[in-house]
């Protein structure tokens, strides 16, 4: 849900007039500093950190016109949110740096066995390789029946963990796909 921010009138004249001898500084004083979020796009989101799940507003640069690549310029609490009512903790308040961060991963990385460094690779390569590994491991370690000849239909050589940092929908998809693959080693942060 995006709301267009109200357009705040700029106060005073933007171009301040300085008389040559600096006698009158009043116009400069009367000019309010521009509000940095007055023309940003607002997106309602939820803080990804703790389980209070505070509402946050992400302010992105630009009005989403075709030629704009938005970046986050500010994050603030969502004052409408009944729990946090606009407030945030020091982690939520620094969310901008979580999104815009020079340490973010931007390329798939691959580390062959025994290598001491990462290799930048293409998506197609990693997806193909992973799919092959998944299938091979499943085929190799799939157990249809246990030692007592009971149907178990499970993949014992593969584990999947994760989810708590992601959406419920992603969690569901993870459970759905992993159970279909027969994975029994399935767990997440809730146990930790």
């Amino acid at each position: 849900m995006e709301l267009t921010r109200r357009h705040f009138l700029k106060l005073g004249t933007a171009g301040a007039f300085f008389s040559s001898l600096g006698f009158d500084l009043r116009p400069a004083m009367a000019e309010a500093k521009g509000l940095k979020i007055s023309r940003t796009s607002e997106t309602r989101s939820t803080c990804p950190y703790c389980s209070v799940s505070c509402g946050v507003i992400i302010h992105t640069l630009g009005d989403r016109a075709a030629n704009v690549t938005p970046t986050v310029v500010h994050v603030e609490g969502d004052p409408d949110h009944p729990i946090n009512r606009g407030t945030l903790c020091p982690k939520g308040a620094s969310l901008r740096h979580y999104v815009i961060n020079d340490r973010r991963l931007t390329k798939p990385l691959y580390r062959p066995p025994g290598a001491a460094h990462w290799h930048e690779v293409e998506w197609d390569f990693v997806l193909t390789e992973i799919a092959r590994h998944v299938k091979d491991t499943r085929d190799r370690t799939f157990q249809s029946r246990d030692e007592k000849d009971r149907i178990v239909n499970r993949t014992l050589g593969m584990a999947a963990i994760g989810g708590c940092t992601d959406t419920s929908e992603m969690n569901f998809l993870l459970v759905k796909t992993m159970r279909a693959l027969g994975v029994v080693y399935l767990d997440q942060q809730s146990r930790l």
């Binding site: 705040f8 106060l11 004083m29 309010a32 509000l35 603030e76």
Partner: protein, 282 residues
């Protein structure tokens, strides 16, 4: 809530405009501060004050020993034993926005420090000449010089936000309601109510910190142990340093009078006695 000027540094002519604006105030209820530092981050985030890449460990939970040119809002952590009970006090520290600001009085650059009618004392870096007199004039040791820009910075009470009807960033962020914002009257009322509550809870010394030495401030505190402001990192009886008062007051007058008097005396002397001609004896 448009900003209207009340006072400009180093300016003799009247600056006060005709619009009436409510006087704003920040209330810091120390008894509800959990030291989460949301205000510290909100301040940095809103004001885009970048931080250093290397960080010294202070040996306590406190972020840094003192305010900095790019850190205008600091929670001071102190462990104190009172009546056999351990108290871990956390109190936010920032510009107090004095009604009678020592910084503004000490500043020699016209318009580098302004006071709006709503009570906000703001530094206008475009006009700042970097002389640091404000630092000496401040009884709270708040303004800090940026080594890079050679200008002085401090909390603006988010004048840009307040001007368009938003609350300061720290106030908005504060999760526990320890920080509140409104008119000075409302905040004083609220503070007194809270003091009453605290006294009923056994904090017999609870009081409001609104130091009269600077004619009151636009950031006021509720202190559970109001008799010991030092425990919260606040000065006991802050006032504009007498040197600043003397310097910007009587001394300016007397000095100017003396100088002007000297020039006048010289003129008079010239008129009455004229120059001393050389004797022509030969």
């Amino acid at each position: 809530m448009p900003l209207e000027l009340k006072a400009l540094s180093a300016t003799n002519y009247p600056t006060r405009g005709i619009r009436e604006t409510p006087r704003v105030c920040k209330l810091i209820d120390v008894s509800t501060c959990i030291g989460c530092k949301a205000c510290e981050v909100a301040c940095q985030e809103w004001n885009d004050t970048p931080v250093a890449e290397t960080y010294p460990y202070t040996g306590s939970y406190q972020t840094m020993p003192d305010l900095a040119h790019n850190f205008w809002n600091l929670i001071k952590f102190r462990e104190a034993e009172r009546d056999g009970n351990l108290h871990w006090t956390m109190a936010k520290y920032q510009c107090m926005h004095c009604e009678d600001p020592g910084c503004l009085r000490a500043c020699p650059a016209p318009g580098a420090i302004v006071q709006y009618t709503n009570g906000i004392v703001d530094f206008v870096q475009e006009n700042c000449i970097g002389c640091q007199f404000c630092i000496m004039g401040c009884p709270f040791n708040v303004p800090k010089l940026s080594p890079r820009s050679q200008k002085v910075y401090k909390c603006t009470l988010c004048s840009d936000r307040v001007a368009v009807g938003l609350e300061p960033a720290c106030i908005k962020a504060c999760p526990t309601g320890c920080l509140q914002f409104g008119t000075k009257r409302q905040m004083l009322e609220r503070a007194l109510k809270r003091v009453k509550q605290l006294r009923a809870q056994g904090f017999s010394q609870a009081s409001v910190y609104n130091p009269p030495g600077v004619s009151g401030t636009h950031a006021i505190y509720v202190l559970p142990f109001g008799n010991r402001p030092e425990d919260y990192g606040l000065p006991r009886d802050p006032s504009v340093p007498w040197v600043v008062s003397l310097w910007k007051g009587p001394m300016k007058t007397v000095g100017s009078a003396l100088l002007l008097g000297g020039v006048l005396a010289a003129g008079l002397h010239y008129l009455k006695f004229g120059p001393q001609r050389v004797e022509r004896k030969d």
